[in-house]
């Protein structure tokens, strides 16, 4: 484990299930927070994409959950957690192109099967933990490139 650096910013967002009207608002807020904290544009873009995909997964596939944004001196962390239903096979759902999205979501441009791979590709550290019947937790970390001493 890397040593903990001081916390500079923390926010918790609730995300409702199936609420497409509000969907996307957390990633917009996260983007705004990071810009106002002076994060560089690449970090803002990557965190925004990770947050949007994670937010959409909670909205479209879960029973609701929350997103925690943590900004430390050397990293941005996004923690996604939901109240189920959980993922039986994480390797399968992580495959590009795999999606269980219903037709109505696909018609709106969701369900391309690229969500998890987009999250992974824009993160430096990425971990999914899930238990069927309980829920899913995703931790995505973007390192800010603080040099090693």
């Amino acid at each position: 484990m890397s040593p903990r650096t001081p916390l500079t910013h923390k926010r918790i967002f609730r995300v409702s299930s199936r609420d497409l009207e509000q969907a996307g608002t957390v990633s917009t807020e996260v983007r705004r927070d990071l810009l106002s904290l002076g994060a560089n544009p690449d970090v803002v873009r990557r965190a925004g994409v990770v947050c949007f995909e994670g937010e959409m997964n909670i909205v479209l596939y879960s029973n609701g959950g929350r997103i925690i944004l943590i900004v430390r001196e050397d990293r941005v962390e996004l923690l996604f957690s939901d109240r189920g239903p959980g993922i039986a096979d994480i390797d399968l759902v992580s495959q590009p192109g795999y999606s269980t999205a219903p037709d109505w979501a696909r018609e709106l441009g969701f369900g391309a099967g690229l969500g998890i791979s987009n999250m992974e590709q824009n993160s430096d550290l990425f971990k999914i933990r899930s238990r069927v019947g309980a829920g899913t937790v995703v931790r995505a970390t973007i390192l800010l490139g603080v040099p090693f001493f």
Partner: protein, 110 residues
């Protein structure tokens, strides 16, 4: 080429103009939001058939120069209001996406 010149050359109808001086560096055509998040570039014009609220969020996250709704698919007033609030250029074309993309390509790469 700046957005204002592109709008004239591609014959786009302006729905929301917040920054017409913005440089357009290319274009991206897709209706899949995750695909846009993965592959559109900053400064692209995004040509799409999607016209719901999330389009504004996705466009903003990828920092596109603007969104073009093809084939006359005009978005609703709440989408337009969101674009104004989030400062995103929105355009409409009665032409199909293929034609819009062709005109944009000709304008950028004469």
């Amino acid at each position: 080429m700046n957005t204002k010149t592109v709008v004239a050359k591609v014959a786009l109808e302006v729905l929301v103009a917040v920054d017409l001086a913005r440089e357009v560096r290319g274009g991206y055509c897709s209706d899949l939001l995750s695909d846009v998040l993965a592959h559109a570039k900053s400064g692209d014009l995004w040509i799409t058939h999607q016209r719901h609220l999330n389009v504004i969020a996705v466009g903003k996250l990828r920092d596109v120069a603007g969104v073009v709704f093809a084939r006359g698919l005009c978005p609703s007033q709440d989408v337009i209001s969101r674009a104004v609030a989030e400062r995103m250029n929105l355009f409409l074309s009665t032409e199909p996406a293929f034609e819009v993309a062709g005109r944009l390509h000709r304008a950028l790469h004469p």
